[in-house]
């Protein structure tokens, strides 16, 4: 490799590194504009208790794919979450609950859903979808600071929660739709949840998609069945 090539390679590497050096930048909004946007962001995580049934199309590493029925029940106030995965034929494959920030209590797990990391990972992902980022239902109590409100460089309004080692951005997209994105401090995307744009009468997205990035990444497409 000659000197010019090495320099070009180095510049490309530097550019890539810079591209991932931090999460997307945001420009803070003045308070008068920030308050309505903050309320709109927090409204994505309604308080109360809920139960929903989804058809879940899971696309897994190595191209594996499966469809299951997912049942989720949660209470935003206590951040209690229960979940079950059923085969379409009715057999319960997995069932577990978590109270607040406690451990996941698994009551049923067929192989390979009995792997140690599965329950923890599933509940982390469901909590990401259903609960406001951070410690409490508003996302502003506990050990987490209140979300920062601003705009991306392209003008999209965003609410940003700064967590330990990561940030979570909520961007509204249309009438009822929104996107939640989590980035590591280095700017590397971790996971993303796109909801809507259409919602049910009770405000649940008819369709949504979760994606975890990385070599072991996977995605889940949720279609609302019952609420």
């Amino acid at each position: 490799m000659n000197r010019t090539s090495r320099t070009a390679t180095g510049l490309i590497a530097l550019a890539l590194a810079c591209a991932c050096s931090s999460p997307p930048g945001i420009v803070p909004l003045p308070a008068a504009d920030a308050d309505p946007l903050l309320r709109s962001c927090l409204a994505r995580f309604p308080s109360g208790s809920f139960e929903v049934v989804h058809a879940i199309e899971a696309t897994l590493p190595l191209g594996n794919a499966s469809t299951v029925v997912g049942v989720s029940a949660w209470d935003a106030g206590s951040r209690t979450l229960s979940a079950a995965l059923l085969a379409p034929e009715g057999i319960a494959l997995f069932e577990a609950s978590r109270f607040g920030k406690g451990d996941v209590s698994v009551t049923r797990a067929l192989p390979p859903l009995d792997r140690p990391n599965f329950a923890h990972g599933l509940f982390e992902d469901l909590g990401f979808m259903y609960f406001a980022p951070g410690g409490g239902p508003s996302g502003s109590d506990g050990d987490v600071s209140a979300p920062q409100v601003g705009r991306y460089g392209d003008g999209s309004p965003v609410c940003r929660w700064s967590l330990e080692g990561s940030v979570v951005d909520l961007v509204s997209s249309g009438e009822g739709g929104f996107t939640l994105s989590e980035y590591r401090g280095s700017g590397e995307p971790v996971r993303r949840y796109e909801a809507g744009p259409t919602t049910s009468a009770r405000g649940f997205p008819h369709s949504s998609r979760f994606q975890r990035t990385g070599p072991a990444g996977y995605s889940m497409r949720f279609t609302l069945v019952e609420q």
Partner: protein, 217 residues
């Protein structure tokens, strides 16, 4: 974080459920009369096809109200099965030539094949299904069958294997007054979790379009 896979559990769940339904829809009169499994085997040979509709009611503590699914079932001797859910989500399981495939209708409206990382688990269950289709209830590897006689008799299937018993405690096959017709099958998965499949419009030995076992459409 380790990669996660839904494969094995789903396949076993699917296969067991298919096996139970096949067992349920097989000629009940033969079962009821059969103290002798050889007779049952001979009677099973008389069944060339089955077609039925079904309603499935899933109950579990987590569900405030039961989850109701509807579908239809086809069997053609010696080993072709189509088990189709039409609501609330659409899936089709096809059994033919010793192989099993399941297709799901995606949110985009296209059928996609469910892949499996557990072909071996499915193969074991398929051996059980093939045995039932041939009327061999007494040498099944997964379930032990026993009969509770009466006006509306019930056949109970208990898992032989402890691992299987962890997720299915027992299966009850309930017969109707009509000879040879199963009314319902209920799978008990624990104290508060069960799956009830009720059959209707059961037709035996009527012509079944062979294309039903070839693909989803």
């Amino acid at each position: 974080m380790q990669p996660r896979s839904f494969g094995i559990g789903i396949d076993i769940g699917t296969a067991v459920a298919i096996a139970v339904v096949i067992a349920a829809v097989l000629p009940g009169r033969s079962l009821l009369a059969a103290e002798d499994f050889r007779e049952l085997r001979q009677q099973a040979e008389l069944v060339k096809s089955i077609a039925a509709d079904f309603t499935q009611t899933k109950k579990m503590k987590l569900l405030k109200k039961p989850l109701v699914s509807k579908g239809r079932f086809f069997y053609s001797a010696p080993e072709a099965v189509r088990w189709e859910y039409r609501s609330p989500i659409r899936t089709v399981s096809l059994v033919k030539g010793g192989g099993v495939k399941r297709y799901s209708l995606s949110a985009e409206g296209t059928w996609r094949a469910d892949s499996s990382s557990a072909v071996e688990g499915m193969r074991i269950v398929m051996e059980q299904i093939t045995g039932w289709l041939a009327g061999r209830f007494d040498d099944g590897t997964l379930f032990v069958a026993s009969l509770a006689p009466g006006e509306r008799p019930v056949v109970m299937l208990s898992p032989r294997d402890k691992e299987m018993a962890r997720f299915i405690s027992r299966v009850e096959v309930r017969f109707s007054n009509r000879p040879g017709v199963v009314e319902a099958v209920e799978i008990f998965e624990g104290e508060s979790t069960s799956t009830l499949i009720e059959f209707s419009n059961v037709r035996l030995n009527e012509a079944v379009d062979g294309r039903l076992f070839e693909g989803v459409e």
